[in-house]
């Protein structure tokens, strides 16, 4: 593997990072700062916030994250298969159909259980 191919990526990271930090510093230098107590409160329609802790959130988001994890791993598994399918031919095709068949059973189960319905 030729790592010099990745050198421009590193330089991109350095330049982009330098630019973003530079702009941040520039804004700090140029902008006036007059903090007051009311200004530094979190925004809540002009009132003082009712609550000073991190607000609770719907557990449904966690479920979506879990589903994403499963499917993303499976998609990553598809990538190398897709690139080499012309070499693996029918054997590769039917192996993947078998794997996706199992996955589809799981997907139908999720669907029937109502996991995919947002409430």
């Amino acid at each position: 593997m030729d790592l010099t191919l990745y050198l421009p990526v590193l330089i991109f990271a350095l330049v982009a990072g330098g630019l973003v930090l530079g702009l941040l510093v520039l804004s700090h230098l140029r902008a006036k700062r007059l903090p007051t107590k009311a200004k530094n409160l979190a925004y809540e329609c002009g009132f003082d916030p009712l609550d000073y802790k991190t607000p609770p959130f719907n557990i449904g988001f966690y479920l979506v994250g879990l589903l994403f994890l499963l499917f993303d791993v499976e998609v990553i598994f598809l990538f190398p298969w897709a690139v080499t399918l012309s070499k693996t031919g029918q054997y590769g095709f039917f192996s993947m159909v078998f794997f996706l068949g199992i996955l589809t059973i799981g997907f139908i189960y999720e669907w029937k259980k109502g996991v995919l319905d947002w409430t």
Binding site: L5, L7, P8, V9, I11, F12, A13, V15, A16, L19, V20, L23, L24, L26, S27, H28, R30, A31, K32, R33, L34, P35, K37, N40, L41, A42, Y43, E44, P49, Y52, T54, P55, F57, N58, F61, V64, G65, F68, F71, D72, V75, I76, L78, F79, A82, V83, T84, L85, S86, G89, Q90, G92, F93, L100, T104, W111, L116, D117, W118, T119
Partner: protein, 320 residues
């Protein structure tokens, strides 16, 4: 050699920044035209200096860090978002050989960076310690990961046809037939997923002005806000570039007669076309409800792109 590369990269990034700034201007103009308004027309000729005025104004605004927020995380979030959206450009080929890093896993690199940009939004929402910001960022993250699955599934048929993860090779595989023709349904799904992935209308629920004020960037001001804003538009251009490379034949000219126009020109024209679509859609469609958005992602796009992956694979194997 390295120094020269530094210079070229710096030029490219500055050019991109300008492009992003003018994309915002063009969007305001197009939406104004669709709504029969004038749009920005005061600063400079036809309002052409408006992006600079906006940038200078934002630079001189006060940075407000909410007193309950972890300061480092709060400042880090927009920096990360901005950083990732510009990093991705290292692998985009704008013409035959016009690419900084012609790495063999270009597409994976792009997918990795688009996934990472979710972190910026999550950190921003959490670090703001505000109800609106947290809700907005959670919605945004859930939406991004839901549509990321169909987005990456759409890439699989393209990989099946091109047989490579290298972006230059993918474009060259379209020499005879652009992938938009055999894979048209995938192109449509790709566009829908991209609208959701970049949090654009009609999927701009994270910012839903009417209910969440501005979603995850409620608490942000000054340059930090500008970073989020620029990153959003830079991501739009990036996604248009991806659509161009994967489906519209990259820098290839559409017909024999026009082959003399250089590749990068074609590339820019195609990107502009996709970007115009972004704006047109924004001006034309109302925002979806959140449950509709989730249903579309998980119950419509996902099974459909699954089926299409199998179908394409079957056709590839049969025609070997």
């Amino acid at each position: 050699m390295v120094l020269e590369l530094f210079g070229r990269v710096a030029l490219a990034i500055i050019f991109l920044l300008l492009l992003v700034a003018y994309l915002i201007y063009v969007e305001r103009k197009i939406i104004a035209a669709i709504q029969r308004r004038k749009g920005p027309n005061i600063v400079g000729f036809f309002g052409l200096l408006q992006p600079f005025a906006d940038a200078l104004k934002l630079l001189h605004k006060e940075t407000i860090v909410p007193s309950l927020s972890p300061k480092i995380l709060f400042l880090l979030a927009p920096v990360l978002t901005f950083f990732f959206s510009f990093m991705a450009w290292a692998v985009i080929p704008i013409g035959a050989g016009y690419v900084f890093a012609d790495i063999s896993v270009g597409l994976l690199y792009l997918m990795a960076l688009t996934s990472l940009s979710g972190y910026g939004i999550l950190i921003a929402g959490w670090a703001s310690q505000s109800t609106y910001a947290l809700l907005g960022s959670l919605r945004s993250a859930a939406q991004m990961i839901s549509y990321e699955i169909s987005l990456s599934l759409v890439l699989v048929p393209v990989l099946l046809l091109s047989g490579s993860l290298n972006l230059t090779a993918i474009v060259e595989a379209q020499q005879n037939l652009w992938f938009i023709i055999p894979l048209f349904p995938m192109f449509v799904i790709f566009l829908i997923s991209v609208f959701a992935e970049t949090n654009r209308a009609p999927f701009d629920l994270p910012e839903a002005e009417a209910e969440l004020v501005a979603g995850y960037h409620v608490e942000y001001t000054s340059m930090s806000f500008a970073f989020f804003f620029l990153a959003e538009y830079a991501n739009m251009i990036l996604m248009s570039a991806m659509a161009t490379i994967l489906f519209l034949g990259g820098w290839l000219s559409p017909c024999e007669g026009l082959i003399h126009l250089p590749g990068p020109v074609w590339f820019c024209l195609k990107i502009s076309l996709v970007l115009f679509l972004f704006m047109w859609v924004r001006a034309s469609f109302p925002r979806l409800r959140y449950d509709q958005l989730m249903r579309l992602g998980w119950k419509v796009l996902l099974p459909f792109s699954f089926a299409w992956v199998i179908l394409t694979a079957g056709v590839v194997v049969l025609t070997q």
